[in-house]
Amino acid sequence: MRRLSTYGVALATCGLILTACGTAADDNDSDNDAAAAECETVQLEGDPQVGLAYDVGGRGDQSFNDSAYAGLTQAVSEFGIAEVTEGEAGQDESEDIREERLRTFADSGHNVIVGVGFAYSEAVDTVAPDYPNVAFAVIDGFDPTEDDVNCNVAYLGFAENEGSFLVGAAAALQSQTGTIGFVGGVNNTLIQKFEAGYAAGAEAVNPDINILTTYIEESDPAGFGDPAGGQAAAEGQYADGADIVFHAAGFSGTGVFDAAVAADKLAIGVDSDQFLTAGPEQAQHIITSMLKRVDTATYEFIASAVNGEPDQGFTTFTLADDGVGYSTSGNFLTPETIAALEDYKAQIIAGDIEVPTQP
């Protein structure tokens, strides 16, 4: 029996290696093409039909996914797109489920497909080559096989570190205790960008500031859909003296706001202007939000597809083009704070301040 399973493993490994070889050969072809010439425009077949696959937390997270939904709604109403399908991600789903979701979209005639969240990067990389006439986009996406350029994929990235720098400065300027907090959903390079920018901004204002950091999960994407974890993490930071906590934790952020309400302390939202999306009680504790215009990115991508020239390759939305920023809803930020933030913003755009991406 044991021997049999050893053979099985050996066979499976061979199979894996063989397929790997196969794709590697293909890779080289397309790589050469890409090196030789620019990608050609993706030719969509028929009218644009949009498929939008959400990340963990899903629509209704009042943050990241809802922002994508806002962009989708705007595009749908403006261009009168008839066929729109949304897909929801489960709490702990595997890579092949995400691939399956994208394939289902493509097979059912959707030719503009947006994966919301970095988690779709691998799945899109696998699926996209099979559907050359479908325009894909991954928000926060990266290309796992950089040698192999996918011509029909747009990677929509953001300079989260720049936006986080500004809210970090805001937190340091308005903190009474000299201690501020950061709650991240998952400890990965994307969320570390938020942390790095936040810390840099706070330290630019006050080099002695004490910054508490908690990640809800080390690698499990469930950290973006765990409000209890967000609440526990923020509650711990408030108990340790923080009076302002910034979260980059998707739907878990509602737990952070709950903790702020309970402790009568302050919080900073993320992605959407969460003063507007959160409940009325929570909103009174959200002094600003780090805006990440996922809605703009989604809208512009769909618009480009509708106009017959879908975006391709990497696009980074930065402070300079208002792709990231901060909100002032609720008038919690003092005029002095806003003046200082505008000053920092100008310096970042001018390149005088280099915001780190690693904590």
Binding site: D61, Q91, Q231, T254
Partner: protein
């Protein structure tokens, strides 16, 4: 008359000695914890905030564990606790959103009860293997709330196809005077006094009514199962259903009641997650707490007090993994673990269990070495702490555990022959 009297007083004396031993052991634990705290300087070990996080982490596990206890005492293994908890999270959110927090709690219990009913029908009436039915309920539970959330929450204000927030939660209260007094004592960092005060402050600050209910249910469970004739009959169904049947007990009915209560408890655990640990619902927010509850029950040797101890321990490790800079705290706890292992090694040696003692001593030395050779535990480990502790405890204590004799066995009416 006199002999009976003497026997009675001897029993009282023995009970009293046992009680004293427990008190002494508890005191020793507090002394060790306090010493470790002062030695390592990790004052947060017993800070009110830490203990509050521990209790919030413990309650859902405790409710699931008690649910498991009810079912297994009647001989039904309920591995479907996770699925029943999931149903409870939806029930809490749905009913609380439309009809207020009390309805939310009741609705969660009702949804859990429905999950329990499914399990009871499968295992009691149709004799399905308990594990298979339980696993099926976990899968069905997740699918059902995914469907229910999509159909009922999508159009609500503050809702989405997989989540809902903005419903009211059970009230919280802070015990006046006691909480503030204990908190100021806790902040002094005195030996023992501050540790106990920290615990008191953690419990009395912003205490949710659902937390109170949870702890009341521990007492109620213990009383009903061990102090009433109903409880005795129920437990007899878990120990020897054939014998119970010959005495005229309707075993099916008792098993049904036990599994229904079990499901309702798990549903309450779901309500706790969606209403106290957070104020939002999202599909799949239990994160395996149903299974941890089962582990707490096994750790607790199928006794309410044991379930309580196990849940608090798991809740503590769960809670601290979400504190900022938890690496230092877990590092300090390493020392505690090392001392605890050393004590167990000595106890095992005295009980002439040489191999176990040697293994314990080895682990203890390992923990000491780890402690003294590092300043902090990597955050990847702190997240794992609850699971490592679960495994470890089960490995260490499993030899002394005794489950109900007919637990998990199929019973057919008329089988007494």
């Amino acid at each position: 008359m006199t002999t009976q009297h003497q026997g009675f007083s001897a029993e009282v004396a023995r009970a009293r000695t046992i009680r004293y031993t427990w008190w002494l052991a508890a005191l020793a634990v507090i002394v060790v914890i306090s010493t470790v705290r002062l030695y390592t300087g990790a004052d947060r070990i017993t800070a009110p905030g830490t203990l509050r996080a521990a209790i919030i982490g413990a309650c859902p596990i405790l409710l699931a564990g008690l649910g498991g206890l009810w079912a297994e005492r009647a001989g039904i293994v309920n591995i479907g606790l996770e699925g029943q908890m999931l149903l409870g999270t939806w029930g809490a959110a749905f009913f609380a959103y439309h009809y207020g927090p009390l309805a939310g709690v009741l609705g969660a219990a009702l949804m859990g009860l429905l999950g329990g009913l499914l399990h009871a029908i499968a295992t009691v009436s149709f004799g399905v293997d308990h594990i298979i039915s339980g696993v099926a309920i976990n899968i069905v539970g997740l699918g059902a709330i995914g469907f229910l959330a999509k159909t009922t929450f999508d159009d609500l204000e503050g809702g989405g196809p997989r989540n809902l927030s903005g419903y009211s939660t059970p009230p919280e209260f802070t015990v006046p005077l006691v909480a503030d007094g204990a908190r100021s004592l806790a902040d002094r960092n005195w030996f023992i006094i501050s540790d106990v005060a920290g615990a008191i402050a953690g419990v009395t600050t912003r205490l949710s009514l659902l937390t109170v209910l949870t702890f009341v249910l521990v007492g109620v469970t213990a009383w009903v199962l061990w102090r009433t004739s109903f409880g005795l009959r129920l437990r007899s169904c878990g120990e020897n259903p054939q014998a119970a049947e010959t005495l005229g007990i309707d075993v099916y009915r008792y098993k049904y009641v036990a599994v229904l209560i079990s499901g309702a408890f798990a549903g309450l655990g779901g309500a706790y997650l969606a209403m106290v640990a957070s104020s939002s619902f999202t599909v799949g927010q239990t994160g395996g707490r149903g299974y941890i509850g089962l582990a707490a029950m096994i750790f607790g040797n199928w006794r309410p007090s044991g379930v309580l101890t196990g849940s608090l321990m798991f809740g503590y490790t769960d809670g601290i993994s979400l504190l900022s800079n938890s690496g230092v705290l877990v590092h300090a706890l390493l020392l505690l673990v090392a001392i605890g292992l050393a004590v167990f090694a000595v106890l095992k040696l005295r009980a002439a269990e040489k191999i176990t003692a040697a293994v314990m001593a080895g682990l203890s030395i390992g923990a000491f070495v780890w402690y003294f050779s590092s300043d902090s535990v990597n955050t990847s480990f702190t997240g794992m702490t609850p699971y490592v502790v679960t495994l470890f405890v089960l490995a260490v204590f499993s030899q002394r555990l005794r489950m109900p004799a007919a637990d998990g066995q199929q019973y057919r009416r008329g089988g007494a022959g």
